[in-house]
């Protein structure tokens, strides 16, 4: 801890901007430093988890509407990508066979439109009723996809054009993650972000203070759905094969929730930090205790809820801060003060 603190002091002394530039340079040069496709795939998946967790956090953490079915937007994005670009087998009636870059925004827009349609009725519900309604939407969508075989391939799924380019995937996801995290940072500092927090803390009070709560919730939901849909579309293209059982898995939402909770609900830097720790932990547990990995992750979730309900950012520093550097240095300083007090 003392070494880490010294390193952090050194970085802080030289200004946050240099730390960011160093981090960006390392991430940008990473594909040149490692020839391993597996390493690039791992990093790409981590970036994706950060991206979808940050989006979940917009509605679940900042707005306070805990969405247990958020992976439905990921699934819709994945399937729209599949339908739009797929090589048409006999049983598929429709596919315009668009390219990746044409299909990608359309997949996001499709997820966003679905968020509008489902958000209008469900966002009137409060607390667990909303969560259950979204879980139901997720399960229902999986079955609808299965039944719409002429478009989705049903249980047999869809084969997408096999285009393997790990370096391109890495850079795409890195930039996409950067855009999403930057947007969340901006939103948190904006009037819109303040309004979302007000809705989370006291929706009636927010309405009485002039906030159009319905409009704010739906916009937040649509933004989160768009970017999650794009992430799903990218995942489908990268995976080259989709079926309902690999796309619509509950664990995807669980990971988003766990990352946000572990890092700090409603904070900008919580989901990226939580996703990083969770991903590394999952890898470690999966590699060493394959048969027990879901059990161990379940125990971890219970541990977070019981002992770190405000997440790492909330426990270390100030939940409202949007500066990562200030948060971490405050966390280290807090540790120092505690030790001094003990002495």
């Amino acid at each position: 801890m003392g070494f880490l603190r010294r390193v952090w002091r050194l970085i802080s002394a030289n200004g946050g901007i240099y730390s960011w530039l160093t981090l960006i340079a390392i991430l940008a040069l990473y594909p040149l430093l490692t020839p391993s496709g597996a390493a690039l795939l791992t990093a790409t998946q981590l970036f994706m988890l950060i991206t979808v967790s940050s989006n979940w956090n917009l509605i679940g953490g900042m707005t306070g509407y805990v969405d247990f079915g958020h992976a439905v937007f990921f699934g819709i994005g994945a399937y729209l990508m599949g339908i739009l670009v797929t090589v048409v087998p006999d049983y598929i009636l429709f596919s315009p066979q668009l390219g990746f870059w044409q299909a990608l925004p359309l997949a996001g827009l499709g997820a966003m439109v679905f968020a509008l349609l489902i958000g209008v009725p469900t966002l009137r519900l409060k607390g667990p009723y909303f969560s259950i309604a979204m879980l139901g939407t997720f399960v229902a969508m999986r079955e609808i996809i299965r039944l719409l075989k002429p478009f989705t391939g049903g249980g047999e799924g869809l084969d997408l054009p096999p285009v393997l380019n790990r370096t391109r995937d890495y850079y795409f996801m890195l930039i996409f993650m950067g855009v999403v995290v930057a947007l969340m940072w901006w939103i948190r500092r904006s009037e819109f972000g303040h309004s979302l927090l007000a809705i989370r803390e006291d929706e009636v009070g927010a309405e009485m203070r002039g906030i159009d709560t319905t409009r704010h919730k739906i916009i937040a939901f649509m933004i989160a759905a768009f970017f999650t849909g794009v992430a799903g579309a990218f995942w489908a293209f990268q995976n080259t094969y989709i079926d309902p059982d690999v796309v619509f898995i509950e664990q995807r939402t669980v990971e988003m929730v766990m990352s946000s909770m572990l890092g700090g609900l409603g904070t900008v830097w919580g989901p990226p930090l939580g996703a990083f720790i969770l991903y590394m932990l999952q890898d470690l547990v999966w590699a060493n205790f394959y048969n027990l990995h879901l059990f161990i992750l379940g125990v971890l979730l219970i541990f977070i809820v019981l002992f770190v309900p405000e997440g790492i950012i909330g426990t270390l520093g100030d939940r409202s801060s949007t500066s990562l550097g200030r948060l971490l240095s405050r966390g280290f300083n807090r540790g120092e003060r505690t030790m001094e007090e003990r002495a």
Partner: protein, 250 residues
Amino acid sequence: MNTASPYLLEGHKITKRFGGLTAVHQVDLAIRPGEIVGLIGPNGSGKTTLFNCLSRLLPIDEGKVIFKGKDITRRKPFQVARMGMSRTFQVIRVYRKMTVLENMLISRQWRGEGLLQMLRPSHPDTERRAHELLDFLMLGHLKHELAGRLSGGQRRLLEIGMALMPDPDLLLLDEATSGVNPTLIETIKDRIRALNREQGKAFLLVEHNIEFIADMCERVYVLNFGELLAEGDPQSIMNNEAVIEAYFGA
């Protein structure tokens, strides 16, 4: 639009029922610009329900509410708030996990509903107003403190500050002195008078604290069992036999 009306807020024959219970029955009420009006009554007389009907938190079953000459009976609470009617609550509603300053910024003046407008950071004017109001309410030194760490009285003042942020024409204060120590009550009185005198703001005060009402208000409405029992200046209300009987049962 009724531009000829001398009143800022008018309630006409307001009736509110909860199932078989009529909480407010055919109540008429009016407030002029720049006036401080009190609303009193024994427990369960329907004061807060009437308050909620006027601010559109609760839909009314009969009657209508006119604010600034416009019928707001079917408008949503956020629309009424943006028209210039702010309120506080009997149970204090501040954002406890946010700082005092953030609480103020959330209750800002509205600059538009476009997504790009909403995505802008707080306007410097909004921040300046928040700082000025916090100083005015003697909370300036606490602006970076979490609202949940303030005392009950300080939270009351913060809630009043939040209600003032949009620069309303009318403030509805529900039990503004409840749970507040005598020193802070004097501060609240002083601030209300200053806002009324210097900025011409109108107030509707719901109170149990009769002394506070007598000291502050030009006119007082008295409710009992959901009906209007009396209306007049504080002195005549204090001497009104029906009011004394409603309060003391004698």
